[in-house]
Amino acid sequence: MKPAPFRYARPHTLADAVELLSAGDTDVKILAGGQSLVPMLNLRLLRPAVVVDLNGVPGLDRIAPDPAGGLTIGALVRHAELMAAPLVVERAPLLAEAARHIGHPAIRHRGTLGGSLAHADPAAELPAALVALDARFVLQGRKGTRTVLATEFFQGLLTTALGPDEILVEVQVPRQGPGWGFAEVVRRSGDFALAGVIAVVRGKPGPAVRCDFARLVGFGVGDRPVRFRAAEDILTSEHAELSIARAAAAVTCDPPDDVHASADYRRHLARVLAEDVLGQALERSGARRRP
C-alpha cells in the first residue's frame, strides 16, 4: 500500500511543467489534487517514473467571468471552491451542485476540477456536467494551446484527448441559463454514482414552448459521459413539457454490469433520473409550473 519509488518535481511555470512532461521517454504523471492519482499510486495500479506537481504553478486556481456571461475556471480550482464560489453559484449553478456530490469535505478540499476531468472516471459528476454545458477545455502542450469541446475530450474509460505532453489548464463554461437538473443514485454518500443524469435546457419561458437547446447527459452508464441524443432531439422538436416522458423513454445506454448494480438496473435508473432532471430543468426555466 505504499507507492513504488518515483521522482518528484514542482515546477513554478506552465512552460516548465510542459517541458517536464515531454522530457525523455519516461512515464510521467501530473499531480493536481491527488484524490484519484494517489490511491492509484498507493495501490500500485500506476508506477510512474516521474510525478509533476502542478500546485507550484501560479494562476491555475482562478475563476473569472467572461463577457458573454460564462466563466473561465482554472484547472486547479478545488471542488470545495466550485461548490461555494459566488461566481459559480450565480453563473453555473449546475457545476456547484455537481461538485457538492463529490466525495466528502476532506476530498473536496484537495480534489481539483482539472484532475477530475483528466482522470475521466465515467461515473464522475464534473465530466458529465461540462459535457452538458458544452464547455471547452484548454490544453497546453509544447507547441502551444488548443481548445477541445468537452464531448470530444472524453474518449473512453479513463481516456481523454490529452496528448502525452499536454496539460489541461482551463475550462471555458458558456452562460448556463436557468434550466438545469441534476440527479444521481449512490450506494453511500460520497460514492461514485451507480447512475446519474444531468439536463440543461434553454427555451423561451412559457407553458407551451419548445427548447431551442437541450442536453441530457448520463454518468455511470457507459465508458464516458453519455449524451442521450435521441432524447435531446425529442426535447427540441416537441412541446417541452409534454415531451419529458417520451424523451426519458428514448434514453438508451450500454451501462456496466458489476457487483454494485446490473446493467438493466442502471439503464432503468438512467430513464427514471432523466425524467426527474428534465422536470427540474423545465421548472427552473419557467417552462413548467411546480406540480
Partner: protein
C-alpha cells in the same frame, strides 16, 4: 528547469513547530507524521483515501494525509490530533467524546475529532444532519456513529452555554 528528484528537502510547520527534513518523494504525509516525527496520533487505515482515519488539517482544512506526499507540504501548515489536544487534559470536544462513549476501539477517533473540530469552528451550532454530513467520510466499525453524533452535539451545546454565560 527543475530536475525531478527522488529525495527532497522540505520545511513546514506542524502543530506550530517548524520542521525541516529530507524525505523520499513517495513518503506519504501520514507516514512522515507517524514515523519521522513520531506523531502517532494520526492513524493509518486504508491508505487510499476511503476510511478517513488519517485526516489532518492542512492550512486549516481537513485533508487525507495518506493522499498527500510530504514533499507537497513544503511551506505549508499542518495540524494533527496532537495539535488539537491541549498540553494538559483534553479539549471540550474530546471530553464530550469521553462522556458520551463516542469510541470503542478508538482507531477512528483522531480523524473524527479533526473533522468535527473543523465543523464546529465553521458552524458552532450544527444540525444533526450537518454533523452526520461532516462525518460521512469517516468510517467507524464499532460505534454505529450514534454516540459520535451525540458527542458533537454535546460539545456544541457546552460551547454555546459557555459563551452565553460569558456574555
Amino acid at each position: 528547469m527543475i530536475e525531478p528528484a527522488e529525495r527532497l528537502a522540505i520545511r513546514f510547520t506542524v502543530n506550530g513547530r517548524e520542521v525541516a527534513r529530507e524525505v523520499t518523494a513517495r513518503r506519504s504525509l501520514a507516514d512522515f507524521l507517524r514515523e519521522d516525527l513520531m506523531l502517532t496520533g494520526t492513524h493509518v487505515g486504508c491508505e487510499h483515501g476511503v476510511c478517513g482515519a488519517c485526516t489532518v488539517l492542512v492550512e486549516g482544512r481537513s485533508a487525507r494525509s495518506c493522499l498527500l506526499f510530504a514533499v507537497q507540504l513544503d511551506g505549508a501548515t499542518v495540524t494533527t490530533i496532537e495539535g488539537l489536544t491541549p498540553p494538559e487534559g483534553l479539549s471540550p470536544l474530546q471530553q464530550a467524546f469521553c462522556h458520551t462513549h463516542a469510541m470503542q476501539c478508538g482507531f477512528c477517533t483522531p480523524g473524527m475529532i479533526v473533522v468535527t473540530t473543523e465543523l464546529l469552528e465553521k458552524n458552532p451550532a450544527p444540525t444533526t444532519d450537518e454533523i452526520r454530513e461532516s462525518l460521512a467520510g469517516q468510517l467507524c466499525m464499532c460505534t454505529g456513529y450514534v454516540n459520535i453524533v451525540r458527542a458533537v452535539e454535546q460539545a456544541a451545546a457546552t460551547a454555546r452555554n459557555a459563551t452565553g454565560e460569558a456574555a
